[in-house]
């Protein structure tokens, strides 16, 4: 099934790129209603293609395709454009399509550059009813928080270029808050599901395993964001900064942990 990944990535990326380009078509060439309809249907093809690939991978592997880093990257590439798509529908801001598309392409490319072997193996500790909810909730949350970091980045870049109007800033911070609230809710749920699962599989719900440690750090940073927003409603640039920094820590938690000296003892290193 992995052998079809190149084809899948192309089939997913091309309509998404097309959809994004069409969303920027000048209004003189196409009516806005038709433009939106066309660009969104094309964009939606991306997650649909990836969703079908994930389902087929699940069937051929005979286990949830959520064990390896590469498999979680595919799941992430499935959720990211979905988040971008929903945000576009809600806020009608085209840059959201561009940013989520860019990020999806990065993650698909990492998989293309690091092809994985086909393996049905699933270690007994992962055979648990908590496996799928834990991973899906986490990756969905990561996609939400990635989108919030993109919003933060947009705010910072526009601010740097002197293009950040009060109206845009207010819009961006509203989007960021919304994304963080959903992302943080799912992050908390994923953390707790993981803890309950750990109790069943390893005997304790929290052992400060390096992955747990970094998951806590990530959680703490978004907790700071939420508190900061309540206390300082008008310091939005600073809030954007926290979002970007938060995402760096999130990436350390997701992929960086494997490269840290502390990882030698982790149960989460994704290696056999």
């Amino acid at each position: 099934m992995w052998t079809y990944f190149q084809l899948t990535a192309l089939l997913a990326a091309i309509p998404m790129i097309g959809g994004t380009l069409i969303s920027y078509a000048p209004a003189s060439t196409i009516s806005i209603k038709n433009r939106d309809r066309l660009s969104l249907s094309l964009f939606a093809l991306g997650p649909i293609v990836l969703g079908i690939f994930i389902a087929m991978l699940w069937v051929t592997l005979d286990r949830p395709p959520m064990r390896t880093l590469g498999e979680t990257r595919v799941l992430y590439s499935f959720f990211l454009p979905l988040v971008g798509f929903s945000l576009y529908i809600q806020w009608r801001q085209r840059w959201m399509l561009v940013y989520t598309l860019g990020m999806t392409i990065i993650f698909l490319s990492i998989n293309l550059l690091h092809p994985e072997n086909f393996s049905k193996s699933l270690m007994p500790a992962l055979v648990s009813p908590w496996f799928v909810p834990h991973v899906v909730v986490y990756i969905f949350s990561y996609a939400m928080l990635a989108a919030s970091a993109l919003v933060g980045l947009k705010g910072l870049v526009d601010n740097y270029r002197g293009k950040l109007t009060k109206k845009l800033e207010l819009n961006l911070i509203k989007q960021a808050d919304q994304l963080v609230f959903i992302g943080f809710g799912f992050l908390t749920a994923g953390l707790l599901f993981g803890a309950i699962w750990a109790k069943e599989a390893w005997g304790h719900y929290w052992t400060w395993d390096p992955k747990e440690t970094w998951a806590f750090i990530t959680w703490a940073i978004y907790l700071i964001y939420i508190h900061y927003r309540v206390q300082h409603k008008n310091h939005r640039t600073q809030a954007f900064n926290i979002l970007v920094v938060g995402f760096i820590f999130l990436m350390i938690c997701w992929v960086g942990v494997n490269y840290l000296p502390s990882a030698s003892t982790s149960v989460h290193t994704y290696t056999n």
Binding site: W2, P115, E116, N117, F118, S119, K120, S121, L122, M123, P124, A125, V127, S128, D177, Q178, L179, F181, I182, F184, G185, F186, T188, A189, L192, A195, I196, K199, E200, A201, G203, H204, Y205, W206, W208, P210, T213, W214, F216, I217, A220, I221, L223, I224, H227, Y228, V230, Q231, H232, K233, N234, H235, Q238, V257, L260, P261, S262, S264, T265, N272
Partner: protein, 449 residues
């Protein structure tokens, strides 16, 4: 963990107007805005939190340097029980008695919350970078020695971590309580999250000493009631385990391209250099690197005899596959047996040339299962199946499949079970439940954001 870290008098007394504005995460942004419209210069804020916790950390690391780990005096029954009740009753009383004071408002306020989370996070980041291990008793040299003595290698048992976690608990308690009086339905999401985290932390830290994790190693056909902890102390349990059977199943074998280096074989990394067989692979034609591999015969339990493998049900039998490879520039097809071997027989390879071979790595485990009879004092004996991810509860313990004698692979006659007693778990799960409620509430709340 002593969650009741005294609200020490070491809070910096200097509180000049505007001093908090240039401290901590927020930089000098305060200079521009006053988001909450009252005179802040009289309140404690970021600066006080920052210096107070910096003080805690400095004192904590000094104590670690001088005395070693934080003593676990407060985490054993019944002391922890009294402390838990003490916190549940004491904090509300303390709060009610002092709710209008500057100090109480500061502790329960957002600036102190942010700085407390940040300090907790910074210590956790150190813990997340440096490997964490129990003290090995050796004296290290140079920088390693300094890191060791400051307690960075055992962060969770360092004084600084205890102080910061304790203060985090105090902060959480006060911020929970400030929305408890008076109770209001609109605060329910806030209270679920804050109280949930507080109860979780309180029960998890105070109860940590009551968590008992013991290992019990038992051979097939034997009964064992003695268990050991991580330090090798032996305990007699109030129950006994009779191991009827230990079994391990494995995934079907894999074929890999392996390279001979310094007299040892190493599998060659890269896509296409590994192929999985299925459960009945005979007749399969596979692509492995540039070669075409045909599976002629597959024996799940086999022993090597003079010129090949034969089926055998005996202990020590291994999976063996007869394959033919062709293509990839080979002059003629090669047929041979490959096997991962076992503790009784060496592995077999198919030699492609002097450098490369086709080999079978040890198969990945699919399941570990112990069939046991459990015998408890004054309890009916029961037959139970214990698997990874499926612990069994008996006589107040949860019994886990932990390990086996890996020298014998799937023929291990021995099983290692872990016997865990965690009396505070229901309280921790109650905290989880509240936090999960607040997570759902936040997702719901996002609609209004």
């Amino acid at each position: 963990m002593d969650i009741k870290t005294p609200l020490s008098s070491s809070i910096p007394s200097s509180n000049e107007a505007g001093s908090q504005a240039s401290i901590g995460l927020q930089g000098n942004l305060h200079a521009e805005h006053h988001d909450k419209h009252h005179d802040r210069s009289k309140d404690f804020g970021y600066a006080e939190s920052f210096y107070f916790q910096l003080g805690l950390v400095v004192i904590g690391f000094s104590l670690s340097w001088l005395t070693g780990s934080f003593p676990s005096l407060f985490t054993h029954w019944p002391v922890n029980g009294f402390l838990f009740i003490g916190c549940l009753v004491g904090f509300p009383l303390l709060y009610l008695a002092s709710q209008d004071t500057k100090l109480t408002k500061w502790i329960g306020g957002i600036p102190n919350a942010i700085i407390s989370i940040a300090f907790f996070a910074v210590l956790t980041i150190i813990m997340g970078i440096l490997p964490q291990h129990a003290s090995d008793g050796h004296t290290h040299e140079g920088i390693e020695n300094i890191i060791e003595r400051l307690g960075f290698y055992q962060m969770t048992s360092s004084w600084a971590f205890a102080f910061i976690l304790g203060w985090f608990g105090v902060t959480l308690a006060f911020s929970t309580l400030k929305r408890c009086f008076p109770l209001d339905k609109k605060n329910s999401g806030y209270l679920l999250g804050h109280a949930g985290l507080w109860i979780t932390l309180l029960a998890a830290t105070l109860g940590s000493g009551d968590l008992q994790r013991l290992q019990i190693s038992v051979d097939e056909g034997n009964t064992e009631w003695r268990a050991t902890d991580n330090d090798g102390h032996v305990y007699e349990l109030a129950m006994a385990v009779n191991l009827i059977d230990f079994s391990m199943t494995v995934f079907p074998p894999k074929l890999v391209i392996a390279e001979m280096r310094d007299g040892d074989l190493y599998s060659v990394e890269g896509q296409g250099n590994l192929v999985e067989l299925n459960e009945a692979p005979a007749g399969m034609a596979l692509k492995l690197s540039n070669y075409t591999v045909t599976v002629n015969e597959y024996i799940e339990n086999a022993f090597y005899v003079q010129d090949g493998y034969v089926e055998s049900p005996q202990d020590g039998a291994a999976e063996a596959v007869n394959i033919t490879i062709s293509g990839g520039g080979l002059e003629s097809p090669i047929t041979d047996w490959v096997s991962a071997g076992s503790y009784l027989q060496p592995p077999s390879f198919l030699k492609i040339n002097d450098q490369f071979s086709i080999a079978v790595p040890i198969s990945d485990p699919k399941s570990f299962v112990s069939e046991v009879q459990l015998l408890g004092e004054n309890l009916e004996p029961v037959l139970a199946t214990i698997e990874v991810n499926k612990p069994y509860s008996y006589a107040g313990y949860k019994i886990y499949q932990l390990s086996y004698d890996d020298r014998f692979g799937k023929w291990s006659p021995n099983s290692v079970l872990e016997v865990i007693s965690d009396p505070w778990l229901p309280v921790v799960y109650f905290g989880f439940f509240l936090m999960l409620g607040s997570a759902v509430y936040m997702i719901y709340l996002s609609k209004q954001a």
